[in-house]
Subunit: 672 residues, 2 copies
Amino acid sequence: MPSRRECANAIRALSIDAIEKAGSGHPGAPLGMADMAEALWRHELRHNPENPDWPDRDRFILSNGHASMLLYALLHLTGYDLPIEEIRNFRQWQSKTPGHPERGVTPGVEMTTGPLGQGIASAVGIALAEELLAARFNRPGFEIVNHYTWAFCGDGCLMEGVSHEAAALAGTWGLGKLIFFYDSNGVSIDGHIDPWFDENVGQRFMAYGWQIIGPIDGHSSKALDEAINVAKAEKRKPSLIICNTHIGFGSPRIDSEASHGAPLGDDAASATKKNLGWDHPPFVIPEEIYKCWDQKAQGREREDAWNRLYAEYGRQYPELAAEFARRMAGKLPADWRKTASELLAWGESKKKDMATRVASRHCLDILVGALPEMIGGSADLSGSVGTKTSSSTPLDCKTYNGNYIFYGVREFGMGAIMNGLAIHGGFLPYAGTFLSFTDQARNALRLTAMMKLHVIWVMTHDSIGVGEDGPTHQPVEQIPALRLVPGLNIWRPCDSQETAVAWLSAVEGNTPACLVLSRQCLPEIERPGKMVEEIARGGYILHGCSGKPDIILLATGSEVHLVMDAARLLEESGKKCQVVSMPCTEIFDVQDQAWRDKVLPPDCRCRLAVEAARGDCWGRYVGLDGDIIAMDNYGFSAPGKELFVKFGFTAKNVAQRAMNLIEKSDGQKQAF
Amino acid sequence: MPSRRECANAIRALSIDAIEKAGSGHPGAPLGMADMAEALWRHELRHNPENPDWPDRDRFILSNGHASMLLYALLHLTGYDLPIEEIRNFRQWQSKTPGHPERGVTPGVEMTTGPLGQGIASAVGIALAEELLAARFNRPGFEIVNHYTWAFCGDGCLMEGVSHEAAALAGTWGLGKLIFFYDSNGVSIDGHIDPWFDENVGQRFMAYGWQIIGPIDGHSSKALDEAINVAKAEKRKPSLIICNTHIGFGSPRIDSEASHGAPLGDDAASATKKNLGWDHPPFVIPEEIYKCWDQKAQGREREDAWNRLYAEYGRQYPELAAEFARRMAGKLPADWRKTASELLAWGESKKKDMATRVASRHCLDILVGALPEMIGGSADLSGSVGTKTSSSTPLDCKTYNGNYIFYGVREFGMGAIMNGLAIHGGFLPYAGTFLSFTDQARNALRLTAMMKLHVIWVMTHDSIGVGEDGPTHQPVEQIPALRLVPGLNIWRPCDSQETAVAWLSAVEGNTPACLVLSRQCLPEIERPGKMVEEIARGGYILHGCSGKPDIILLATGSEVHLVMDAARLLEESGKKCQVVSMPCTEIFDVQDQAWRDKVLPPDCRCRLAVEAARGDCWGRYVGLDGDIIAMDNYGFSAPGKELFVKFGFTAKNVAQRAMNLIEKSDGQKQAF
C-alpha cells in the first residue's frame, strides 16, 4: 500500500514530467501543494470522475491557476476523462491541458483561472449559489443540494484587491461550506515576500468573520485532515486553512522563486525525483498508486445514492424536482413565451418618456417576477441603476432566502461572484453599477466572456448625460472598450422598446450581455410598425427614404433622437436620409450580408456616425469618406443638457456636419 | 468668538446652499464630516492658501470625492483663491467647483477623486514620496521635506479592493506620516450597511500593521484633537482614525441614505440650518467666522519659515537644493540630451535580435542610471517585464532609500500609488506588469490620464506571442481598449530602435504613456538611415516604393516584421508596397496633414492593417475598401509561433490577403 506521500508524489512526478516535456510551466506550486491536494482529493472531495456535471458534486477551484498541472494530475489520477496522452500534451495546441485551467476545455475544471484572486472570488459566488439552492429546494430528509466549495489559493491571490471584496462578503454572508486552503509558501515571483506582503492574513480574514485554522504544516497529512474536519465543523462561517508549505517541495529550488515559472531542467528534475524517492519513468504511475487514487467506484456510488434520493424527491415533490432540473440545465420556463410577449408588449405600449435605466427597471419587474433563477444586485447603486424590482427580496443570510444582493461598493467582486453563481448553475445573475465604474470589473467581465457564462450587466449613466457629477462619472471610452471584449454583447438602446428587446436578447441569448443605459430621460420613438425583429438584429433602419439615400446617419442610445431630429432638418433641405439605430454592433456584425447591405447600402459612402463616446471604432462602418461625431476627450461637470450642446451633440450640428459630408461627397463624385 | 461647532457649521451651510442652488450634489457627507474637517483644517493642517504649490505643504486627499463641497468650503474659508462666486457656481460649466474634485481645476485640490478607494490608494503613494524625498534631500537641521499626508475616506472607499492593496503596502512600508480619517457613518447608498459591510475595519488595518485610533466620536472636537495627536506620535506606522459620525448631521435626514446624493430641498435645508442654529442668508458667512477660518497669515508665516530654511539649505547644499527644485518642477536634468543621445545610439546600434521587453530593459538601464527621479516597480513580475535595472535598488523601508518598488500582485494599487508619487512631485514613476493584467488597473490609468500625470507603464507579453500560458494571459482587446483612453500614449514598438524612441517620447512627453512590449524575440529592422524623427511621429513609412503604391501595409510591434516579409513576397509578384509602422497612433493622429497624407496617401485606398489584437479601430485607417488581419476572439494555449500560424499571422497569408485586396481594388477601378 503506497503511503500518502507517495500518492502525493504522483502529482509531483506528473507535474515535473509534463512541464519538462512542454518546455514551460509552473512546477513550484504543484510541488508545494501536492500534499494539500492529496488530503482533499483522496480523502474528502465528494465528486464523481465519471460525471463532472453531477449537480451535487463538491466544487473545487484552483485560484492560483498557474498550478494547473496539479489539477490535471488530480483529474487524471482520480479517473476523469483525461488520459495520460493529454498530460503528455500539456500546453499544446488543442490539448485538454492548457497552460491555465479553462472551463469547457477539460472535464472537471469548473472555472478558468489565471488572473490571481478571481478564483477565490468566484468561489464565494459558487458557495452562495449552493446555500440559495439548498434553501429553495431542500426538504426534510431531502438534502438534494448539499455540497462544499473548496478553493486553493496562493499569496498572490490574497494580495489582489478582489480577494478583499469577495472574502468580506463571504464573511458577512456566513458561508459555512466555503473552505479555502491558503498555500502560504512565503515566496512569489519577485522572491521572498516579506518586503511586499507581511500582513497578518489570518487576522484580516478574522476581521471579515471567517474561521481561521492554522497555520498548519501543509505537508502533514494528519494536520491537513484535522484542519478539514475543523473547517467542516463550523457551519456559520467560511474557513481559511493556512498551510505553511514549501514551494518547489523536493526540488533543489525549494523555497525559491526559481521554482515558480520555468521547468526545473533535466538535472533538477532528476534530483527532485531522487529526493522524493520516485524512480519511475516519465509519465509512468505504478498501478498500485493509480488504484489508491481511483475515485471512480466511490464517485459512482455517491452519485448513485444522490440519484436515488433525487428520484424519491421527484416522487414526493415532482414540481420542485422539475424546477431544479430546469434551473440546473439553464433552460427558460415552459411559459417563457408568455413572459417574452408581456415584455415586448410593454416595450411597444404607449407611455411617457423615460430614461432607459427606468425602462430597464420596468423590464426587470416583468422578468424577475417570472424567472426565479434571476438573482439581482448592485454595487451600492440599487436605486440609481434600477436593478431592485418589485419582485426583489434582499438576501437573508440566516435563511438564504432572497433574490437580490447588496454587493456594496465592490464592482470587481460583484463581477467575479456573478461568475461564480453562473458557474455553479441554477442562476441567471444580473447586477448593475455606473458604466464608468465597470472599469474596475473589467477582468471579471473578460472571464465571463471567455467562459461564455450567462451573466447580465446593467450599466447606467452611460455618457456626458450624467451631467454634474463630472468626468470621473461620465463614461467616454467604456462603450467602445467593452465592445472590444470578445464574446460580450453590448446593448445601448435608445428607448423603452429597444430596451425591452435588449433584455429579451440578453435573457434568451445564453451569452453574456451588458445593457448600457441612460441616466437622462429619452423620448419614446414613434415607430412605423412593430420593429421587434429588426431591433433584435442589432442594427436596423429606423427611418428610411425612397431611393438611394444622400446620407446614412448611424447612432445608438440617446444620440438616436438627435440624428432623427437632424434627419428632419436635412429633409427640410431636400436631402434623403437613412437613419440607422445600432443598439448592438456585435449582433449586427453577424447578420447575413443582405441585411447588413440593406442597413448600410455599400453604394452609399456618405455616412455619419454619432455617439457620445470615443468614436474610433465607428470608422469601420463609416469608412474614410464618412464622419464621426464623438467624444474625443473627457467630459465636464455641468448639467447634462448643456454638455450635449457644448460638445456638439445637437441636431443642428449633426445636420451641418451631414450637409458638409453630402457636399464633399457630391464634389468627389463630380471629380470622378 | 465663534465656537468650533459654529465654524464647522459654516462648511455645512455652504454645502447646503451650493447643493440646493445647483439642484444636485451630495449633502450627507459634508454635513457628517464637517467636524472632522474643522479639527484638521483649522487646527492641524500645515498649508499656505496663497500658494497651493508650496512643496512642503501637508497633502490632503478627499477620497470620498462626492463630498466635494466639504473641500470647496474648506478652500474658500481658509483663504484659497476660490471666491464665493465659485461656490455659488457649484457644478456649473467651467466653474472651479465641479461635482467631484478635479486636480488642475481648483487651487488646493491635490487629486481628482470620485471613484471610491483610489484617493486613499494614491495617498499611500504621496506619503511614500514624502519619505523618499526626505531620505534623499534632508540634512541635519534641514528637514526641507517634512509633511503629513491626510485623507478622508468613507465606507465605500474601504469596501473597494484597491483599499486593501494600497493599505497593505502602507503598513508594510511603515508610512508613519500617513493618516486616514475613516468617516464611519454606517450608511451607504443602498442604506444601512450591516447586510453588506460588517467587517471589523480596525482589525483589518491592524493586520496590515497600522495604528488604529478609535472608534471616536467624529463630532467631538476634543476626541478629534486627541486622535490627531496620537496619530502623529506614532512614527513607524500609518494611522487610521475611526470616526463615528452621522451622515446628514443636523438635517432631518440624519443617519439615512436619503441625505447622500440629492439636495435636501427647501424645507429640509431650512430645518437643518435651524437645527444647527445657523441663521445667516444663503452663501453668507459672518465675518468673525471667516476670521476664525482664515489661514492666510499663518500659512504665509509657515511657508516663509520654510523658505528661509530652504534658502540656508541652498547655501550649504547648493547642488542638493538645485536638484530638489529641478525634481519638484518635473524638469529633466541639464545633461539630459547626453542621456537621450546615448539611448538613441543604443537603439541604432547593431545588436542581436531581442524581445522588445528586453530592449526596454536596456533602455531603462540607461534612463534609470541617469534620472534619479525615476522610481520603478512591478506587480510581482520584475524579471519578466524588465523593470528592474542595473541601477535599481529596492525600497528599504527603514531608511527609505531605493528607487525600486516591489508592489506585489496588486496592479490597481500599483497604478494608484504611481499616481500618488506623480501627484506629490519629485518623481517619474514607471512600473510593469503583463498587458492582460492592466485590465485590473484600468480605472487608475483613467485617473492618470484625466490628471495628465507623468506616469509610464511597461506592459509586456502583448499578444498571443505569450504562447503556452493561454488566453487568460494573452491580450486581445487590451491594446485597442487602452488606445481609447483619452490622453494616454500607447507605444507598441517593433524592435529595439522603436523601443528606444518610445522611451524617449515617454520620458520627454510629460504625459502618461504605456509601452506595449513583446514577450517573444523580434528581429532587428535594418533601416535605410536614421529614422528617429520619423518614428517619433508615431507612424511612418518603414519601407516605401516609387510612385503610387498598389497597397499600403500597416502594422505595429511584432506584426511589422510579418508585413515586411509579406511586402517582399508581393514585390516578387511585381506589386508596389508601402509598409507603415505605426507604433503610436495617438501621436500619429496629431501630426500635420502633410505627414499623415504622406504616410497614408489618400489616393491609395488599398490598405491592409495587421495587428494581433482586436482590429475594430483599424477601420478608421483602412476604410471600407481595406482589410484587417486581427484577433477576433481569444487565443489558445500553445507555443506562440504555432499560434501566429494558426491565427493567420504569416507572411504568406498577409501577402495573399493583400493580393486579394489589390485585385478587388483593380476591379473597382476598372468599373469606374
